[in-house]
Subunit: 344 residues, 2 copies
Amino acid sequence: MDGRLSGGENVTLDFRHHPAVTLAEVAEAAGVGESTVSRVLRDHGSFSKKTRDRVMEAVERLGYVPNRIAGTLASAGSRLVAFVIPSLSNIVFPDVLRGASTVLEENQHQAVFSVTDYDPEREEALVAAMLAWRPTAVMLAGFEHSERTLKMLRASGCRVVELLDLDGTALDLAVGYSNRAAGRASAEFLLKRGYRRIGYVGHDLDRDTRAGKRFAGLSEALGAAGAPLADREIYAGGSSVESGRLGLERLLARRRDLDAVYFSNDDMALGGYFHCLAHGISVPSQLAIFGYNGLDIGRVTPQPLSTIRTPRVATGRIAAELVVTNAPPQVVDLGFELVEGATA
Amino acid sequence: MDGRLSGGENVTLDFRHHPAVTLAEVAEAAGVGESTVSRVLRDHGSFSKKTRDRVMEAVERLGYVPNRIAGTLASAGSRLVAFVIPSLSNIVFPDVLRGASTVLEENQHQAVFSVTDYDPEREEALVAAMLAWRPTAVMLAGFEHSERTLKMLRASGCRVVELLDLDGTALDLAVGYSNRAAGRASAEFLLKRGYRRIGYVGHDLDRDTRAGKRFAGLSEALGAAGAPLADREIYAGGSSVESGRLGLERLLARRRDLDAVYFSNDDMALGGYFHCLAHGISVPSQLAIFGYNGLDIGRVTPQPLSTIRTPRVATGRIAAELVVTNAPPQVVDLGFELVEGATA
DNA sequence: ATGAAAGCGCTAACAG
DNA sequence: CTGTTAGCGCTTTCAT
């Protein structure tokens, strides 16, 4: 009646696709009930040492791997933490993931992620997809989300952590630093150093709203000091060393009188710095350069890059800690540190 | 009898923790059977347009989000792809994830990941944890895994993709390029350019076995050409720009006669290059520098870095495509490209 | 200390 | 075209 009875061919196939061992099979093999196996495996409830050994022996022998899909369905939390991040090219997000993954792994949680490419609609779709896994928490970049995203998140009942931004209203938890304040601090530093004709080279501001907030803080502080932004060059698309170089080249073609340029981040700033090195523009006497992020590479260039160091790894770590400890709603300001460097 | 009956306070709590809407509730609200809702949602099987509208209206109104945990348990695959990667600091892995995530998202798969920090024991534990989610596939770096890891993987029945290496035996699928061949190609290039006193600056070779294979390929080719490796400086720990700089400094302190240095990757090589810039060592006339990976930044430095460009994003993309199409076991060699640059 | 049984929320036959 | 029903593999009372 069953194909398996009719030939060796199917036996072979059955070996290959052997369905995973189940808890019931382990129970059977150990000669105990299913609930006993479950108790032993989770070390919860009581059982004799003898039973424990029998069960573990069977687990070992059969190569049993518990099925967390079933486990999660039967019990409470999934111990899944979902990251919906804008990009993996921008080093910021791998750094955040790195900080979080250590903590998550130590606490038997798993990280799931997807990449929005800075698109709010994709974010919406991806959040929905993530929510289908009933994660313990979902981590997002910043505070700008579509109405529907916010609604889904609120309705989900899972923890929400908004990362890397402080300029806005948190849904639940928020961990990061103020980009607006960072922009302002950069402006004040440059002004203090005596620069007055300051330009800006940046990448797409509408999509990367945190870069937009830094720009706003910068412009605001420069304006307030009576030294408004001299000019700006916006490079469509993501940030990169190459677009920083190109952006500075274009900006200088228009404005030879600039004495300092603020870049939307260190990648861009390094591009600008390399442009200066290659074209004999002496830094900072002819032109000062200032970045954002405090990448390690900026400390090793012939002149250390002047920038703002941000606690990206710590952001991930703290966010994960708040989630695994189920901390009450709160906003954690990790601050940032201005690195004077030698380029400004 | 129940605390909830005694006061308004608990009612509020109940609102907050309102359990997620279930398919049964949607069916109820729409006045249809559960399987009908299921069919409509998955657009599978047949149903009238009228029914469809009624169901969708209820879904919308209740804010229903399907539970994939339950769905997966009831049906077949999880559509989860597990990445067990050594590091997130090394740009290689974010790049691979980036390539894969695009394809996975387009095909309604989710990426789960964890980080081994190049430790085979952690890898073993993390693979086990991943397997508990019954992923469609698990993606690993390279071919070096513990016996138990291999056993679990084989027994799991899920697809296994080994990434970024070709020098070894694949379990199922493998996508990448030969690190040994890359090391050899680098040596041949340097020799062809006339360099004979070649040194090496690298990071931990035992943990990063792919870097070890490049080193082996390099040494082998240099030895075969009668110009064996002059000296080497191994920096414990991961690769970084700073350790590249420091490594070169130390190496040169011992061997002033070197005419070229091969670095374990571009990060290290950039550190070396910056050291030369800062100390007036002219590149490549006094000292040639050669890296590995072909990072974008190396194309924008005052002198473009001589290196080998590797298809990291494509590795992730192809790996994901093989998985979502359930391709037969195979090894895909994506090759690499030697970039002549100006530093060697 | 242990087993039996009732689900968790969904999908997949199988009837109608 | 649609509803009913039997699980998926586990956890969790509840008895014993």
